[in-house]
């Protein structure tokens, strides 16, 4: 049944994927025939050719389905078979129940399809048998299961809700953790997770208490803490203060008391043991047993290991311990009667052993004494021998040392002697050498003194002669000076002569030449002769360069030119200032009819000035004539300008020459 339903569902799913729209409009015409509901899917699968128009479908339905309702069953079965074959699923043979219920089963799937429309169509199953609900028999087991399930779900939900709410509110958290079982664990787990999420690096510290986690459970004993008892009396004893007080005086009353004594006994025993045998430790342990001895008195007495003879022997003590243990065991078993003989014999044997030990001790001590005596004797002899040998050795060594000492002394004395001699020789040599040196020094000094005396005498003599010579040289020098002076005088004379000659040359040149000639060479010679005579230089500098470059006219020439100039000046004599053409013409004309003056006329007019100048010129007064002409004004002055300049140049040259000649004369006079 399940399988069929599965198959169907598969088919449905297949069909559902491909044509989605169909269910929307197909069911409408079919709704009146719900028996075919299942069929439509299979029809879809089988015949994919169907574009079914609503009208045609209804017609088909009318023809096929409606008139024969019983047939509907058959086609279903056929359909089912076909579908199975199509899927190629090998089917198990259907059970008789299933076969019988097949029509029912076929109707059963109708509620199954998961589609919403399918369920809707199920409701009115007109053609099909009434569906007997198959879950009905299952309901009984399911109820319990469902109840369980619901309970589990509810509880899980409750837990979840509780945990969540407890995480949210503190109040509920307290309640939840307190009263709900495992609630605390659950909440703790979630809290821890949250904490880890927040702080991934940190160590996890669970909020749960250690007791809850089951760690470090400390059980405090019931007697823990302080008690009301006063325990200051037994402070020295220390260890057992807490326990009951009766044990303190346990030794004095021999109590048959059982286990308490075990702990209490050691205390009194220890002091006793310390008094008698302080050196042995093992004793401390047997003491309790020894103290126990009185306790099982009726069965068999223990051996007192302290009072026993030769108790100091460890062997004896061991034996006693063994026997005591045996006795105690026997006593504990209350088999004293049984082993009484054995115990007594053991005790006797012990006695015997002790005796043996004593005898052994005595013999050994005697032997030892003997041996010691012998050893003493031997040692004495050996010591004597040793002393003797030492004496011998010392003697021999002393002798040897003495010999060596002698040898060494002689050696040393020899060495020192030799050294002394050598040193004496050395000092002698040194002394002689110093003496020789001194002698040499003396000699040298004497020689030097001699040389000095000789030199001084020679020098004194030579000094006399040299003095005469020096006088002579002085005389010679004076003569030389004189000659030099004379030479200078001669030179100065020569110079002045040269100067005079040069001046004369210049003068001759100026006077002799009929036409003006340059006298540059003569002047240069004059300057050369004068060299650095300031006066001469100044005089030469005063001459205009034009004069010596072009030469100066002679006096006759000057007079000639003056006459021409005078004629011209006379023409312009009557001109007023700023005269025009008319006045010029008038002056020219009138000047022809003017009277000429003679002699030395007085007056500033042009005529008189000209006549005076002419007379002066004729007398040889160049300077005066020039001065007269220079005083002319206006056109007369302008016309006479050139002549005046010439005269001035001549005068300058003459003056300079006069100065130079005077200087030359003066120098010739100064020399004398």
């Amino acid at each position: 049944m399940l399988r069929t339903s599965l198959v169907r569902s598969r088919a449905i799913s297949k069909g559902a994927i491909a044509p989605v729209h169909r269910p929307q409009w197909l069911p409408a015409p079919r709704q009146p025939f719900p028996a075919v509901v299942g069929q439509r899917y299979y029809a879809d699968v089988k015949k994919p050719d169907g574009i079914i128009l609503p009208g045609s479908q209804s017609a088909k339905a009318d023809t096929e389905d409606i008139p024969s309702p019983p047939i509907t069953v058959d086609p279903r079965s056929n359909v089912e078979k076909e579908t199975i074959q199509a899927d190629n699923i090998p089917l198990t043979p259907p059970k008789p129940e299933d076969v019988t219920t097949k029509p029912l089963a076929s109707s059963a799937p109708t509620p199954l399809p998961p589609m919403g429309t399918g369920t809707a169509t199920v409701a009115p199953p007109a053609g099909g048998a009434p569906p007997p609900p198959p879950p009905a028999p299952k309901k009984k087991p399911r109820r319990f299961r469902q109840f369980l399930l619901t309970m589990m779900v509810l509880s899980a939900l409750g837990y979840a809700g509780g945990v969540y709410y407890s995480l949210v509110s503190d109040n509920f958290h307290d309640f939840f953790t307190e009263y709900v079982p495992f609630g605390e664990d659950a909440v703790g787990y979630f809290e821890e997770r949250e904490f880890r999420k927040r702080f991934p690096g940190k160590e996890i510290q669970t909020k749960l208490h250690e007791q809850v986690r089951g760690e470090h459970k400390v059980t405090i004993p019931s007697r823990a803490g302080m008690s009301w008892k006063v325990a200051d009396k037994d402070e020295k004893k220390g260890s057992d203060l807490g326990s009951k007080g009766a044990h303190v005086s346990a030794v004095e009353p021999p109590k048959p008391a059982s286990p308490d004594a075990h702990a209490s006994k050691p205390e009194p025993a220890k002091p006793g043991a310390k008094e008698s045998t302080p050196e042995l430790r093992p004793e401390s342990k047997p003491t309790p047993q020894a103290a126990e001895a009185p306790k099982p008195a009726p069965p068999a007495a223990l051996i007192d290991n302290i009072n026993i003879e030769s108790a100091t022997e460890p062997v004896v003590q061991d034996v006693v311990k063994i026997i005591n243990t045996l006795i105690t065991t026997i006593n504990a078993d209350n088999a004293g009667g049984k082993y009484a003989n054995a115990v007594s014999s053991a005790k006797d044997q012990l006695q015997k052993v002790i005796n043996d030990i004593n005898t052994l001790k005595s013999t050994t001590s005697a032997d030892a004494e003997k041996k010691i005596k012998n050893a003493h004797m031997e040692f004495d002899e050996a010591a004597k021998e040793l002393a003797r040998r030492m004496q011998n050795e010392m003697d021999s060594q002393e002798a040897q040392w003495r010999k060596e000492y002698e040898e060494e002394r002689t050696k040393l004395s020899d060495a020192y002697k030799s050294k002394l001699e050598s040193e004496i020789a050395a000092t002698k040599d040194v002394y002689e050498a110093t003496l020789k040196n001194q002698l040499l020094e003396k000699e040298i000094e004497l020689q030097r003194q001699f040389a000095e005396t000789v030199r001084s005498r020679v020098e004194s003599e030579r000094g006399g002669r040299l003095g005469k010579l020096e006088n002579l040289t002085e005389g010679v020098k004076e003569l030389e000076d004189l000659t030099q002076k004379w030479n200078s005088v001669l030179q100065a004379n020569l110079k002045t002569q040269h100067l005079l000659v040069a001046v004369e040359a210049v003068k001759a040149k100026l006077e002799t030449s009929p036409i003006p000639k340059p006298f540059v060479e003569e002047l240069a010679a004059l300057k050369e002769v004068a060299q650095d005579d300031a006066v001469v230089n100044a005089a030469i500098a005063s001459i205009q360069p034009q004069a010596y470059q072009l030469g100066i006219p002679t006096s006759s020439q000057l007079i000639d030119r003056f006459r021409r100039v005078a004629a011209e000046v006379r023409k312009a004599a009557l001109l007023p200032e700023n005269a025009g053409v008319v006045s010029h013409v008038a002056s020219q004309l009138l000047s022809k009819v003017m009277f000429k003056k003679n002699g030395l006329p007085v007056g500033d007019d042009v005529e008189s000035v000209l006549t005076r100048a002419e007379i002066l010129l004729e007398e040889g007064g160049l300077e005066e004539a020039a001065r007269e002409v220079n005083a002319l004004q206006g056109w007369a002055g302008v016309l006479a300008r050139d002549w005046v300049g010439e005269v001035r140049r001549v005068c300058e040259v003459k003056q300079a020459l006069d100065v130079i000649s005077a200087e030359a004369r003066l120098q010739s006079l100064l020399v004398e």
Partner: protein, 96 residues
């Protein structure tokens, strides 16, 4: 050669400046020549005018020569008047 070298300075310097006594004569020469030329030019112009414009009348010729002469005299007078004063060539004139 020596003579040629010696002579030039004398010959060179002399004509550079006219002698002072010849100044007035030079002026007279220049005046007369200018008078002549200008009167001649004026007369020439007058003659030209008479022939071209005035039917061979005499007065244009006289007028022309008169103008030329007058102009020449004027120039001459000017030259005579300012000759004596020291020349102001190369000097700057400060005008008020």
């Amino acid at each position: 050669m020596a003579d040629s070298v010696a002579t030039p300075p004398a010959s060179v310097i002399k004509p550079s400046r006219p002698m002072s006594e010849a100044l007035l004569n030079d002026k007279w020469d220049r005046c007369l020549s200018s008078m002549l030329i200008r009167s001649a030019i004026g007369g020439g112009f007058g003659i030209m005018f008479t022939f071209i414009l005035f039917r061979r009348r005499a007065w244009p010729v006289v007028l022309g020569t008169g103008i030329g002469l007058g102009r020449a005299i004027e120039e001459c007078d000017n030259s005579f008047k300012n000759a004596t004063a020291p020349s102001k060539d190369g000097l700057r004139v400060l005008r008020p």
